[in-house]
């Protein structure tokens, strides 16, 4: 535990520049990951109900 905390301190918290950039890039990465996970759940939960699920029927029909 002390080793992890010490490593965390030395690598991130020691210099303010590193700490600040870690905060911003962490927020950026979290947002992307969270959005993707939520979209995945959303599309699974609404399988076959959304426009993107039925779109191919009508686009194909028009090209024939």
């Amino acid at each position: 535990m002390a080793g992890i905390a010490g490593g965390l301190y030395n690598s991130i918290f020691r210099r303010n520049v590193v700490f600040l950039s870690a905060v911003f890039s962490g927020a950026f990465a979290f947002e992307i990951g969270f959005d993707q996970a939520l979209s995945k759940y959303w599309d699974w939960n609404n399988k076959g109900r959304q426009w993107k699920d039925i779109r191919h029927k009508y686009v194909e029909n028009e090209e024939e």
């Binding site: 969270f34 939960n45 609404n46 009508y58 028009e62």
Partner: protein
């Protein structure tokens, strides 16, 4: 009367005297309080007073309930209309989108049936693109209609085919024309109808499917009106329009009355809140993030308060005693 009250006072005096005597005898056992209350308790007067106050209390409660208790209805049940049945709409669930195949069928029902009388003023052709139709389908539908152009160099307003940015045209030029064509009744605009009526989807579905074969015995239907128990007042100018097989769905869904009603109701819910899918998705994201933040803040609060909650305040009184003792103890 006077004699009786005199008698009673004499009896009370007798009571008092006897109780006084009892007090005297029992004063050694220090139960004089019991004796005093027995002295005040003339059973007949107590009964009368208790009965009277109880009757007063009950009577005032009954009077208050009579004044303010019962619910008053401004309208008779017939004028309110029958309450619509609650149906388990899938798209009304917390995490469910509209079924866009249903929206496509519902728009077909609106276009082929409802749009001959009802406008959909707030929906432009473009908003159906990417929701239930492709761009090319919507362009073709928009071009079937004519719209006014901007004034040209001579100030004349000409006609042009519709574009995606145009709004779905209304069946009548204005409300007066709509009334004139419909026996004085105005077919309301359907854009926000699901939000505009109590019961929303349930009400419209019940209304569309709730026309009986003939009005029940005893019901009076004004000339030019139709009987529908779900419509407030039960007399509705719109006749039943949805019959089995009225439209032919392109996805070969059987076009029963209830199927068409369900499709068009869900379509009208979409037209009232086209942002619903996105709104629900954002709502879930918000709930997840804020509940994580709430848990975090509760943890931080407990962490910070631990020293305050677990501290123990002890008071050590100063040592008292003979100064001589303390000085000898000091040495």
């Amino acid at each position: 009367m006077l004699a009786r009250s005199v008698l009673r006072s004499a009896r009370m005096a007798g009571n008092a005297r006897s109780s006084l005597a009892r007090t005297a005898t029992r004063s050694t056992t220090s139960s004089s309080i019991d004796a005093a209350s027995e002295a005040a308790a003339s059973p007949f007067r107590l009964t009368v007073a208790g009965t009277a106050t109880t009757a007063l209390a009950l009577g005032s409660m009954a009077w208050y309930y009579h004044l303010y208790g019962p619910t008053l209805y401004a309208m008779t049940p017939q004028e309110e209309g029958l309450h619509p049945t609650k149906y388990p709409w899938e798209h009304e669930k917390f995490t469910k989108t509209f079924d866009h195949q249903t929206l496509r069928r519902g728009f077909q029902v609106y276009r082929e049936v409802c749009s001959s009388c009802h406008s959909l003023n707030r929906i432009p052709w473009r908003s159906l693109v990417g929701s239930s139709h492709t761009v090319d389908e919507m362009k073709a539908m928009a071009e079937e209609n004519e719209y006014d152009t901007e004034p040209n160099d001579e100030g004349e307003i000409e006609k042009r085919p519709g574009k995606l940015s145009d709004y779905i045209p209304a069946p009548y030029k204005n409300d007066e024309a709509a009334r004139a064509a419909n026996n004085g009744a105005l077919p309301p605009d359907l854009s926000l109808m699901v939000k505009a009526r109590h019961g929303g989807c349930n009400y419209i579905f019940s209304l569309l499917t709730g026309y009986p074969e003939e009005p029940p015995p005893g019901a009076t239907v004004a000339p030019g009106l139709n009987f529908n128990p779900y419509f407030p007042g039960t007399g509705i100018a719109m006749a039943r329009v949805l019959y089995d097989g009225l439209v032919e769905y392109e996805d070969s869904t059987p076009a029963t009355t209830s199927q068409m009603a369900k499709d068009v109701v869900e379509f009208l819910n979409w037209s009232a809140e086209p942002e619903m899918d996105q709104r629900k998705k954002m709502g879930i994201a918000t709930v997840v993030i804020t509940s994580a933040l709430l848990a975090l803040s509760i943890w931080v609060k407990r962490y910070k308060w631990v020293p305050i909650k677990t501290r123990k305040i002890v008071y050590n009184p100063p040592i008292r005693g003979n100064p001589g003792d303390r000085s000898s103890a000091g040495h």
